[in-house]
């Protein structure tokens, strides 16, 4: 009998306690925000879309190798002698034309592993998070600021240069041996 009324009492009292709490919360200001109008404040270390400052990129391919999902693809073209590519902002000399630098954000897992090995700090994460697209192809970002023709031109230049060198080498091959050894390290 005592248990019977005890049950009724605990049921009603705990329900009452719960109702008191929810009622109190009716007057607590909302913690949510009206998103597109009000934007959340993002901390400085926010890890969102990657950005590549291509002017600083030396084409070392370290970020691409660090990436666990292989979303960065880099194609570099060696500059032919006589071309001056300038220096990066921290004083490294550039020796490669970056003819292709694409990041597939459909694959990117935002792990930041590519950011740390970069010797010139040219790849970093920004706080841009609104970049949804209707098509996957649109998530393939190309960071190179050369036009299509310019890239082709660089490739052609190198091919021409290599061809010339090859011809030179062939010419050299018909001559005495020791000169070939000299050429080999350059070819690498």
């Amino acid at each position: 009998m005592r248990e019977y009324f005890g049950n009724i009492f605990t049921a009603l009292s705990t329900i009452f306690v719960g109702m008191k709490i929810t009622f109190k919360h009716m007057f607590v200001p909302a913690v949510t925000i009206q998103y597109p109008e009000v934007k959340p404040e993002l901390p400085e270390r926010e890890r969102n879309r990657l950005y590549v400052n291509i002017d600083d990129c030396i084409g070392c391919d370290q970020c691409s190798r660090a990436c666990p999902v292989s979303c960065i693809s880099i194609e570099t073209t060696k500059a032919i002698p006589g071309e001056d590519l300038g220096k990066t902002s921290n004083g490294k000399k550039k020796a490669l034309w970056v003819t292709n630098f694409t990041i597939d954000f459909a694959k990117c897992c935002y792990c930041q592993l590519c950011v740390f090995p970069c010797p010139t700090e040219c790849i970093y994460m920004t706080d841009v998070y609104e970049f949804a697209e209707y098509k996957r192809e649109n998530l393939l970002y190309d960071f190179v600021n050369l036009t299509h023709d310019e890239r082709q031109q660089k490739r052609d230049n190198l091919a021409k240069f290599n061809a010339e060198k090859e011809a030179e080498k062939l010419k050299a091959a018909s001559e005495p041996k020791p000169e070939i050894k000299k050429d080999q390290p350059e070819e690498k």
Binding site: M19, I21, T22
Partner: protein, 361 residues
């Protein structure tokens, strides 16, 4: 009035009867039930949002008040999906029947002394009986869906509603014993005057029995409120549509307008049962402290005030239903039966006997 008008118009009393009947039948639907259901859905969202420190719908209209209208428009446009193995006939009838049950209950609800669908002598009985139709609709829906979750949900629902009708009836019976009437209109009229004439405070008159009745009336009120909660499948008794167990119970397979009918029926039902509680215990449409209309001598104001008071009381109980929903977990099906058969029914029965003894005084 309307009948005469149509007789003049068509010259045929049969046609006029049908048309005026139809209009009279659909008038409350479009003037009260539909707007109320839309409002209640919006209220539910806002109440839940604010209880959870959220904002709820904010985009469509001021604080999102047009949100439910948009939702209903969306539901109407949606494709009506009927699965291959559904029992087509029952599947289509079920939402109509469910809605009809809750809709018919509004016929006997006294919104004010002047506006009442039909002044039935058996108003209380009628409402309880007609809301029983909902059970049939739910069972049909569960069976016709040919879905195990729906079937489980509808069986639970039937078990629940059938067991909770008993405490409801017992409490209403005790009220009938005091008042000697089953008409909701008469019951409301008896509680006229001031707040202390309400049945929750022992009813009209100042006798010893009034004071003896007060605790019994509170118990009765708690019982009827709890059991009506169960009858309209609200938390903590929402096991027929327990979304975490049975996905959404008997209306899992429904979409579009048929789903909307279940949805509207649920909210219409919420008001119907709240209205019964308000009518029998809380003075019905009577104001707690006299009428402004009497004070300023404007007779026409009284029905408006009465309507206001009735809706306000009904809405308050609807609000408490929502408040409970967003506070409590839900019971299990056997605990639900325990609550009814071991707690509510015996207490309601003892309550009935005690009230009977007091009325003999």
């Amino acid at each position: 009035m309307m009948y005469d008008f149509f007789v003049d118009l068509f010259g045929s009393s049969t046609l006029a009867g049908i048309i005026s009947g139809l209009i009279q039948a659909f008038l409350p639907l479009f003037t009260f039930i539909l707007p109320f259901a839309l409002f209640a859905v919006w209220l539910e969202r806002k109440v839940s949002a604010h209880m959870q420190d959220r904002l709820g719908p904010m985009r469509v209209g001021w604080h999102g008040w047009k949100q439910t209208i948009a939702d209903i428009l969306k539901l109407i446009q949606k494709e009506d999906i009927v699965a291959k193995d559904n029992d087509k006939l029952l599947f289509n009838i079920a939402p109509v029947l469910t809605f009809a049950g809750s809709y018919a209950a509004f016929a006997a609800i006294p919104f004010s002394g002047y506006f009442i669908g039909t002044e039935l002598d058996l108003g209380v009985f009628y409402i309880v009986a007609v809301t029983g139709l909902v059970v049939a609709g739910i069972l049909m829906a569960g069976w016709a869906s040919n879905n195990k979750y729906s079937l489980l949900g509808s069986m639970r629902s039937v078990a629940q509603i059938v067991s909770y009708e008993i405490p409801t009836m017992l409490v209403l019976l005790s009220l009938v014993m005091i008042s000697g009437t089953m008409s909701l209109h008469t019951l409301s009229e008896m509680q006229t005057g001031y707040i202390w004439n309400w049945f929750i405070l022992g009813g009209p008159g100042f006798t010893l029995s009034k004071f003896l009745l007060i605790p019994l009336m509170f118990t009765g009120f708690l019982i009827i409120y709890i059991s009506t909660l169960a009858e309209v499948n609200r938390t903590p008794f929402d096991i027929p549509e327990a979304e975490s167990e049975l996905v959404s119970g008997y209306h899992t397979e429904y979409s579009g307008m048929k789903f909307a009918m279940f949805f509207l029926a649920e909210y219409a039902n919420m008001f119907a049962v709240s209205a019964i509680v308000a009518a029998v215990f809380f003075g019905g449409y009577q104001s707690p402290f006299g009428y402004l209309g009497n004070l300023v001598g404007a007779e026409w104001l009284i029905p408006v005030e009465q309507f206001f008071w009735f809706t306000a009381k009904g809405l308050f109980f609807v609000f408490v239903q929502m408040w409970l929903r967003w506070t409590l977990p839900r019971l299990r099906v056997d605990q639900l039966m325990t609550t009814s058969w071991k707690y509510l029914i015996p207490i309601a029965f003892v309550n009935l006997i005690l009230i009977g003894l007091i009325t003999l005084l």
